[in-house]
């Protein structure tokens, strides 16, 4: 069984630029999560999807972050414009009973 795929693995941008991350969950998983993990901390939820609908985006900074899951499979997380404090690892996970994580995208904002 293929795991959760994410790309890119690393991204370096300058502040005020935009960036997008892609996630492909495990086949058949209706629930998809995006987490932000700042260095030295545990992951924190940004947004949860159930199929292509948003379940929880209360912690998503909506003035700069957006996410979509149009066909209920792949998902894209976008940051525009990026700030220095957005430097973090962005983790995608899928599954309801047990969540399985992708390798993450490490973002550095200079």
């Amino acid at each position: 069984e293929a795991g959760v795929a994410q790309s890119p693995r690393y991204k370096i941008i300058e502040k005020r630029q935009s960036v997008a991350f892609w996630c492909n969950p495990i086949s058949g998983h209706a629930t998809l999560y995006w987490y932000q993990q700042i260095l030295g901390q545990g992951p924190k939820l940004l947004i949860q999807f159930q199929n292509n609908g948003v379940v929880d985006d209360s912690q998503l900074p909506k003035d700069r972050f957006s996410a979509e899951r149009l066909k209920g499979v792949d998902s894209t997380l976008k940051i525009q414009p990026a700030k220095l404090e957005d430097s973090a690892v962005y983790l995608c996970a899928s599954g309801l009973g047990t969540q399985y994580f992708g390798p993450g995208t490490r973002l550095l904002v200079l």
């Binding site: 992951p43 379940v55 994580f101």
Partner: protein, 117 residues
């Protein structure tokens, strides 16, 4: 809101010895799930063990076992016969039951485990 506390930022253990990582949590729910995840330096988060709150029996997975004390809201992880490959960040996490609909994981800050050869 639920919170998870890991009071040990760093721990070390000799190879082949046993180590226990601590975790406490706060919740008003009676039904929930607890997890330990391992995150090696490559950053792939891997599930180590899972415990359902309604089960009194402590979960075990090979060399990994938990001590789940529901009344005390404590959920510690014991690693027996430690191996070099066990070196990683370990995160304790809480999840509400599926019927609540909103089921993200709430993580602690993690414990960095070093294994000394």
């Amino acid at each position: 809101a639920q919170t998870v506390t890991q009071s040990q930022p760093e721990m070390s253990v000799q190879e082949a010895e046993t180590v226990t990582l601590s975790c406490t949590y706060d919740t008003s729910e009676s039904d929930y799930y607890l997890f330990w995840y391992k995150q090696p330096p490559s950053r792939q988060m891997i599930l180590v063990i899972r415990q359902e709150a309604y089960k009194q029996q402590n979960a075990t997975e090979n060399r990994f076992s938990v001590n789940f004390q529901k009344a005390a809201k404590s959920f510690s992880l014991k690693i027996s016969d430690s191996q070099l490959g066990d070196a990683a960040m370990y995160f304790c996490a809480y999840r509400s039951p599926a019927y609540s609909g909103n089921t993200p994981l709430v993580f602690g800050k993690g414990t960095r485990l070093s294994v000394i050869a």
